[in-house]
Symmetry: C2
Subunit: 502 residues, 2 copies
């Protein structure tokens, strides 16, 4: 074994945060644990390794000393430093049967997809229509200054543990703001959560037991499908249509007594649809009659590009059965990790009980910043800016499609939100299109991700807020090229009807 | 019904965040929903209510209009404004059977206790020995400036969605820092969590299924007992003693094949004990033989007031079976809501999968601030400051007890951490003491909170870091007075041995 060869592979970064001797110790520890450097191997003398790696001798000495403290090497005076005799599986996780210890995980076909959706747009030339994320270039980070302007005047307890339900001033300003939006809210109707993902998690935790029924729209937010499946819920889908099918809904209510109906009534994700006021009123009437709990997920209603959308279901709630969920991630930036739930106190209390186990309370810093934003009536101004910009982008995407691939993609222009829900005309298939698109540097989410089970959905979801107009247009050009070439056409299914003549 | 009387109760705060008409609308909405103002009631004319509440007429007009939009009042032209006819249970949660919808909650006798423990010290004169929280006066909030100094130079994506495992620069600097503490760590061994409470939650979620066995020390952190009970675990307690009873531990391993052993080896909560190096090495040897997963909860080891404590179990880990958990809450401040788990990649990956459902990733702002702290080697300096201060406080509390109630409280001086674990000498009882102490303006946690089932534990936990020396001494004086008076003595149990002569 050529030890010099192995060790010469070690890279020491002079600029790195970690002291060089630690970098070296870590690299060596790794090689020891993965047995690239087996027990009893004699390490190079400090001086030699130092010159080999172009570091000082002290660096090597300190690294060896640290390894020795950790029992990974032993020094024999006058002889040198040797890799220690490791008891079976020393530091080697291969010997710890972790996989056998874990509870059977819920393996979602979509998990990795959701994960990739929240990962920020790639640095390279890829144009992403996939991530449902505002454009970082539109983040107004100056609101962070609110923290610095305030902290010297705030009681220091503000930065200690606060109540599970959230930073009290924020609960007050949020309640006041929401009241201006037509939902009379008092602070004790508000639970601050660590992003609306956590809001959904808490709701599922508090309301859903295995084999419980839950109604969702189809298609719907894939994160919700995942949470419900992970909780063992039995999911009832309201058939896709432009109007809410109340007859089917009522039938579900009678047959299955579902725990709740999860809906995104405004600028729905992914379909971009808006439930009409009439439908909302009928839904509330029906829900009130059956005492059906409604979870209204509403991250987008403030992002309208024309008329204001109809009032929220929560503002029409006549029976105290609507749980309202929203977030600052889509209108400000996701890194604040702050959303909220508005619901009757019994619900808030039950959710707070669950939240206590999960993180005691949400991050104070974001809550302090957001309270300042609300108090300064900042949101209205910021919303005006992003609405103007996103409207342009929606129109740019729609225009590009009409210009470059009108024969292949059909869509209805959404009145707000983030998404254009496109039908890919056969014979092109979303899966094939995605395969070639990724190679051509453009990505999107295939429609099937938003269904429980529609692997052959002809739809794709294009998010139009992440990139500027030029990039959006270029993205469509790339898609158009693939579609025009026929490369995205579904492979012909083998003819299964041929039978031997008997 | 004297409507003027009811309405005159409404308070409008001219200074409040919420516009006055919203405050008014909310107050009225509340009275309508709670039926203090029943259907068909005629509201006062705008002008009269305005003068009654000393607000402008426009304020009242806008409030009435908002209520009308929300269907809570109706205006009859020429007649006035009336409370609307509300369909049964309009906005009245009484008619939504929430309690019947919730999954059976885990009702912990300790839940409210834990909740009160995280609530910040009360403003009044009460001296709290209860909350296990650093003294807000020692929070160094200037570290918040790191956010402002950095954000203009950071890529804006930094404030979007980041990876579930955490802010990559922080994972690197944390790994490097931890390596200096004797745990060779690479960034992919690190998962950033929203406080160590979340770390525990994720571990229980990933490892524990109902009826699984888990071993804990007795006494131990009550939050862990709660999480395990909520998960339906069967909890095996290692009998309380000054040394770890490895014979019992091994017997548990053979009989029950537990999922893991949860331990706080350094400055244990609540007992303040430190596991000796020899015990740690024996524990690791035993655990390695049985492939026992160890969860090492280590929030306090950097808070030593004399000798450095022995190396962490993780740094002695020879078989990759130790999962290390720590937090910045105790050494910096809890409002950062940031902790971390160090473990082999298979564990990190499994926990990240659970975390994705709970909050996608932890708060970016805190992670950016903490990365700066670690890069600037700030922690060492700050730790030196708090160590010096907390040592004084520990000694002040111990000294005061020896001066004022040596005959009633016994303790061993802890070498670090937050807590003095005191035995209350009979006939005084912790429960009685707490009852009188609360009245006298001093609180603490009775020992029973840290056991699965020891209602008559003679111990109490006194946290010595939250108040300065003078307050600590005053707190002890108050306790001493109660103890001296005999008021805290346990009520005599009725003599159950008396039997009728037959």
């Amino acid at each position: 074994m050529d030890i010099a060869k192995i060790l010469s592979g070690i890279r020491i970064d002079q600029q790195a945060t970690a002291p060089m001797y630690l970098q070296l110790a870590n690299s060596l520890a790794a090689k020891i644990k993965e047995c690239t450097l087996p027990s009893h191997t004699k390490l190079m003398p400090e001086r030699e390794l130092a010159s080999l790696l172009k570091v000082s001798r002290t660096t090597v000495i300190n690294a060896y000393r640290l390894l020795e403290e950790n029992g990974l090497v032993t020094t024999r005076v006058g002889s040198g430093t040797y890799i220690a005799e490791l008891s079976a599986g020393d530091g080697n996780t291969g010997n710890m049967p972790w996989e056998q210890l874990f509870s059977p995980p819920y393996k979602s076909p979509l998990a990795s997809l959701l994960r990739s959706l929240v990962s920020s747009p790639t640095a390279d030339d890829t144009i992403s229509f996939a991530a449902g994320m505002p454009d970082p270039q539109l983040y107004d980070l100056t609101i962070l200054e609110n923290l610095i302007n305030q902290y010297p005047d705030l009681p220091k307890e503000t930065f200690g543990h606060i109540s599970i339900e959230g930073y009290s001033p924020l609960r007050h300003s949020l309640a006041a703001w929401q009241t201006t939006l037509g939902i009379p809210t008092s602070p004790d109707n508000v639970l601050i959560v660590s992003g609306s993902q956590q809001g959904l998690y808490l709701l599922v935790k508090a309301l859903v037991e295995p084999r419980d029924y839950v109604i969702v729209e189809s298609p719907t937010y894939l994160g919700t499908i995942q949470l419900l499946e992970a909780a063992g819920a039995r999911i009832l889908c309201l058939p896709q249509s432009d109007t809410l099918d109340l007859a089917v809904l009522e039938d579900y209510l009678i047959r299955y007594r579902p725990k709740f109906f999860y809906t995104i009534p405004t600028f729905q994700n992914p379909a971009g649809r808006v439930m009409s006021l009439a439908q909302r009123q009928e839904l509330i009437r029906l829900a009130a009659r059956y005492r059906l709990a409604i979870v209204e997920d509403d991250p987008y209603s403030q992002l309208y590009y024309g008329q204001q959308p109809p009032p929220t279901l929560k503002s029409l709630d006549t029976y105290g059965g609507v749980i309202y969920l929203s977030t600052f991630s889509k209108i400000l930036f996701p890194g604040l990790r702050t959303g909220w739930i508005t619901a009757p106190p019994p619900v808030i209390n039950r959710l707070a009980q669950e939240k206590q186990y999960i993180d005691l309370h949400s991050n104070n810093l974001s809550q302090i910043i957001l309270h300042a934003c609300l108090r300064q009536d900042y949101l209205a101004q910021h919303l005006a800016v992003v609405r103007r910009e996103y409207k342009k982008r929606r129109d740019a995407l729609a225009g590009a499609i009409q210009q470059y691939c009108p024969a292949h993609l059909d869509f209805t222009l959404p009145a707000g939100g983030f998404y254009l829900w496109c039908k890919v005309r056969p014979p092109a298939s979303p899966a094939e299109l995605l395969r070639h698109a990724a190679a051509a540097g453009v990505t999107f989410v295939p429609g099937e991700a938003f269904y429980l089970n529609q692997p052959d959905s002809p739809y794709i979801r294009l998010c139009f807020v992440t990139h500027d107009e030029a990039r959006l247009t270029e993205g469509v050009r790339r898609l158009a090229k693939i579609l025009a070439s026929g490369a995205a056409n579904a492979p012909l299914a083998a003819d299964t009807n041929v039978r031997p003549l008997i």
